[in-house]
């Protein structure tokens, strides 16, 4: 033995370390018995896999539309955890809980693992060959599907997948790309367009001394929560900025405000005009603000405003004096101010304050303009759902594709979306899990999750320059019978335009070629291959594009706010506030245990839906926590547990969105209720968007009651303990801190 270089001691070590098979390997690669089996070492790692060491790969989080750059922690070929990618200007190396849950989407026990086809009333598994043959038969060149007959519904989209979808529609001569987001920012976009001439200006919280937010939950939901949270942290450092939040139901942002003001939903614009009226009393503004504006706001004295908005009159002057004292400031509007029939006008009235105060150019300026309009983001809207619904109802559509949206779940019941969808002869869903919409479809195709997929994304809110965040697989696909959405799209495009796309066997090669095409815009000088690998390893492409110009004159601010608001409706006396939970949004990721068990920040409720009602209102109706209430609108009734919540206007009740799934998976099914169903057909006048906050409801106490499952104990105060101590801002000396 010793002559061959292995002494007994070493031999034993080898035995101890690698087990017998490893030791036997040292004797030559012979078979054990018959020669059929070659002896392999116990651990035979893949390339780039070092057992016991984690490797971080950059990618993009697609859990919401912010397109944060993330890093996936990969060990032994499995992605374990998502972290922020410090190279991404959007995430800044940070990540929210929704982003963390991407791995739970990936390893979700209820993922769809093979194609399904409708047989009778149920879905039956089929092979991919069969599925693609069916696709070819139903929508291929010989099917006669063309133009108006076909519609493709997607969620918010950007990047090269969007290009492929567009190209596929082009190949069909169809213009029916319906990008639908249940919680879309389009009303705000319309208002911004009117005031600033752009969809979305860039907001500099860090430069502001005061933020007055009318219902904008920028920390929780909004355009880019992780980015805005970082900006908020800078805003709170010395010199500490002040946050004033005006909204009907306290959001997470409201919970962090120095002053939180409860307001009747829909009257935010009036309040803003009242504040403007007070501001214009300062003679400094007489030269800068046109007389038209002054006369427009002059009728909104504090008393009138107070009557309409339900806010104490002195607060109008108070907010105005804060805005006067703390400049530069920033005034923003959010979902609860915009989701009304006059939502755009509300938002315009709010943005008007920025113009009066001269914030434009100081704390608000234009975003960088992307040099690649074809991959620019499509934020999605409700009107596209409406258009598609009308088209389906009219019987025009012969085939629809649905990807990235769950309209059967999120469409209000008054639309009859489910019935209309059933009228379409051939419906295809591209999903990770067989959700409510997939259950209605004829063909359900399982696609890869975001962590298995290549892709490119551009957020519609860009904090600095233009950031194209790259998506790359963090692991091999978990299920062999799932396919890349990009590959499927490429196959579909090739049905009609095989020649044009023949150079790209798969989406990867297509994406690579397309990204390398961008090289000049990034001013990258090395080779194409290097550019590609640099892009993938850093996860982001930064383009220093020029800023968009935004309007700072008053010309655009034409206002037509309805005179009479705050009308009492005896049959439906309460305003419904369908609140957006920061980890649930429209409910597409409700099937993640982590998210279900992550307590709602304000109520700390888990695994449920609830209706928030002000303790005073509850007391007058004899409602206690846990009582089941019947919340009825014209379009339906929900039975929900009551939670007494002081952060809500006494005339409003609030039900969180995102729960109430029937078919998403074991963690989501049967949990809570879906307030989308009872929304009234109230539409924003200028944009045709659904006015989410325009629904009136009645509240009826039932005899049922059940304990509310929450993290909070029986008391909600500190009971005299020194747990969270609050220091007045004028005492604190933040500038001396580290």
């Amino acid at each position: 033995m010793s002559e061959s270089g292995i002494n007994r001691r070493d031999f034993l070590k080898v035995l101890g370390l690698g087990g017998s098979s490893l030791a036997l390997t040292g004797c030559g690669n012979t078979d054990i018995r018959s020669g059929d089996e070659l002896i392999m070492p116990n651990v035979s790692p893949e390339d780039f896999v070092v057992p016991g060491l984690s490797v971080f790969y950059a990618s993009t989080c697609t859990q919401c539309g912010s397109a944060c750059g993330v890093m996936g922690r990969v060990r032994e070929g499995r992605v374990l955890k998502m972290e922020g990618n410090p190279q991404s200007k959007i995430s800044g190396g940070k990540i929210c809980g929704l982003g963390q849950a991407a791995v739970q989407v990936q390893y979700n026990p209820d993922r769809l693992t093979q194609p399904m086809m409708k047989v009778g009333n149920g879905l039956q598994p089929v092979s991919w060959d069969k599925a693609m043959a069916t696709l070819n038969e139903k929508v291929g060149p010989k099917s006669g599907i063309k133009g108006e007959n076909f519609a493709f519904m997607t969620g918010a989209m950007s990047g090269h997948l969007k290009v492929l979808v567009q190209n596929y529609l082009d190949s069909l001569d169809s213009k029916n790309h319906f990008a639908y987001e249940a919680l879309s920012p389009s009303i705000g976009f319309a208002a911004n367009k009117q005031v600033y001439g752009v969809d979305m200006p860039r907001l500099h919280f860090d430069k502001a001394k005061l933020i007055v937010s009318f219902g904008s939950d920028f920390l929780g939901t909004g355009a880019s929560p992780v980015h805005f949270a970082a900006e908020y942290a800078k805003f709170r450092k010395a010199p500490r900025g002040t946050l004033v939040q005006i909204e009907p139901k306290m959001t997470m942002t409201g919970a962090n405000a120095d002053r939180w003001i409860a307001i009747i939903p829909g009257t935010e614009g009036i309040f803003a005009l009242g504040v403007a009226n007070q501001l214009l009393k300062h003679s400094e503004f007489t030269n800068t603000v046109p007389a038209g504006i002054a006369s427009l706001v002059s009728k909104y004295d504090p008393e009138t405003v107070s009557q309409i908005t339900g806010v104490r009159p002195e607060l109008v002057g108070h907010v105005a004096s804060l805005l006067w004292e703390k400049t530069p400031s920033i005034v923003i509007s959010g979902a609860s101010a915009e989701g009304h029939a006059h939502g755009v006008q509300n938002a315009v009235a709010i943005q008007l304050l920025n113009k009066i105060l001269g914030n434009v150019g100081k704390t608000i300026d234009g975003q960088a303009k992307s040099p690649f309009p074809q991959i620019a983001p499509e934020a999605g809207s409700f009107s596209s759902l409406k258009a598609m619904n009308d088209a389906m109802g009219g019987g025009k559509l012969q085939a629809v594709f649905i990807h990235g949206a769950n309209p059967v779940f999120t469409a209000p019941s008054f639309m009859g979306f489910r019935d209309n969808l059933r009228k379409v002869p051939f419906k295809v869903a591209f999903v990770n899990a067989a959700d409510e919409t997939a259950q209605e479809c004829d063909l359900v195709l399982p696609i890869l999750t975001a962590v298995e997929e290549f892709g490119s994304n551009i957020a519609w809110y860009q904090p600095e320059g233009v950031e194209i965040t790259m998506q790359q697989p963090l692991m091999n696909k978990l299920y062999p019978d799932t396919r890349s959405m990009g590959d499927i799209m490429l196959d579909l495009v090739k049905q009609r335009r095989a020649d044009e796309y023949k150079n790209w066997p798969d989406f990867f090669s297509y994406l690579k070629a397309a990204v390398i095409n961008m090289k000049p815009a990034v001013k990258y000088t090395d080779t194409d291959e290097h550019f590609w690998y640099d892009t993938l390893s850093s996860g982001v492409i930064h383009i220093d594009a020029p800023q968009e110009q935004i309007g700072d004159s008053f010309a655009e601010a034409a206002l037509s706010l309805p005179e009479v608001q705050n009308v009492q409706d005896p049959k439906f006396p309460f305003y419904l506030v369908p609140s957006e939970r920061h980890y649930f949004r429209d409910g597409r990721h409700a099937n993640c245990g982590w998210l279900q068990e992550s307590p709602d920040p304000l109520t700390t409720i888990v695994w449920d839906s609830w209706v928030e009602i002000h303790p005073k209102t509850a007391a007058s109706m004899g409602i206690k926590e846990g009582d089941y209430l019947e919340i009825a609108s014209q379009n339906g009734t929900l039975k929900v547990k009551a939670y007494l919540f002081p952060g809500i206007h006494p005339d409003a009740v609030s039900i969180p969105l995102g729960q109430g799934h029937e078919s998403l998976g074991r963690f989501a099914n049967g949990v809570g209720v879906n307030p989308f169903t009872i929304l009234n057909p109230v539409f924003e006048k200028d944009t045709g968007e659904l006015a989410m906050f325009g629904t009136r409801v009645s509240v009826k106490k039932t005899s049922d009651s059940e304990i509310v499952v929450k993290d909070e104990g029986p008391v909600s105060t500190q009971m005299g303990r020194k747990l969270v101590v609050t220091l007045p801002a004028d005492v604190a000396q933040l500038s001396k801190e580290i």
Binding site: I707, G713, P714
Partner: protein
Amino acid sequence: MINTFEERDVAVEKRFIHKEKDIREDIAWAQINKDVLKSLERPRMLFWVIFIASLALFMVGVSCEIYQYQTGMGVANLDNPHVWGLYIGTFIFWIGMSHSGTLLSAILHIMHADWRKPIYRFAEAMTTFSLMTAGLFVMVHLGRVWQFYYVVAYPNERWTWPNFQSPLVWDATAIFTYLTSSMIFLYIGMIPDLAICRDNATGFRKSFYTFLSLGWMGTDRQWANFRVTYLTVACFLIPLAVSVHSIVATDFAVSQQPGWHITSFPPYFVAGALYSGCAAIITLFIVLRYVFRFEEYMTMPILEKTAKLTFAIAMVWTYLNLVEYSSTWYGDDMYAKQALIYRATGDFAPYWWMMNFLGSVVPFTLAFKRIRNNIPAMLVISILLNVGMWLERWMIVSPTFANGIYPWTWDHDQWPSLVQWGIVAGSFGWFNMLFMLFCKIFPSVSMYEVKEMVYHRSLVRKGTEDATQINPELAVEGGIAS
């Protein structure tokens, strides 16, 4: 006080003529043997009813424990931070119960209160069995009961020791010591009686008792050694008993929790222990008296004396309880005061008030002679007192968890599950079963001590020459001490 034989005779005369006797002094020794040994033969039907019921209850407890062992502690409906519940409460209850035997056999033995003689044997058995029950609760309570031996300081190759700072280690040590000592004490005290059993038994029983009686022949030397040993163990046991419950009290007193962090806890626990122990003696006294037809030995005057003792201890306990409340109330520990208010007004208020009522008000019924001499009433009262004492232990453990220092974690839902109740019920079954078995197998009345008692009494009664040979003070003590 008593200076002459004449005076003594007058006093004795007065007492024995006008008062009921602790025991008839004319029982023949053979009769005592016969009566007591009969309890090993054929008890009343009620014995079997109690035994079967206890066995059934025990099986309920066992099945609950198997379920809990398999599934996890969650089935007990404990939660974070309410991590202790009925198990610990009932554990203290059983530890407390174990003090009865030591009180009767050791303390009263040293104080020469000879009325204890007919009843101390079963009280000692109670001590042993309730300690065994308490030990079970420590196991039942552990999340990983299969690793319980980590608490014991045993030598091992890894040189890992238990944490001697922890009161739970003191607990484990104290309970093991107390359990072994009380078993030895019980056994030593039984040896002469086992010899009587041996002499009267046949068949396999004969060999059983022969083995256990260790060759007892009743020689003078044996008696002399026996006396010394018995007294030594008794003296050893008394501080041990006090320390065991003090240590259990330190489990709570050394922690930071409001409502536990109280220096008066050790005496308070000991008083509560003696209290519940005495009450339990009354209950079992009545049961045994009926089941084994021990009316001759477990007489009404003895019951009355036990009741008086119980009353006295109840008052001590009440006093210490009030000390606890008032020191909390007038102290400046905000958390403790809040916890006290919570006990009186919160979710546990009904049980807390019931505990105070049963523990401090109900014993006043014992002040009435008519009640003390009414067996059904005494049975009910003694059980009520023990319910009160059990509630006391629960009220020490649970409300503090439900309403501790940290308000965020105040309890969501703290009601014990059926599994917890089942195991608590099972512990009563286990205790009763063991106790009944003991009474069936071993003489539950000490024959030789009763004989001594009868002999002394008869000497006193007759005022014979023999009586003058013994210490006059001693002779009348049995009367005066009561």
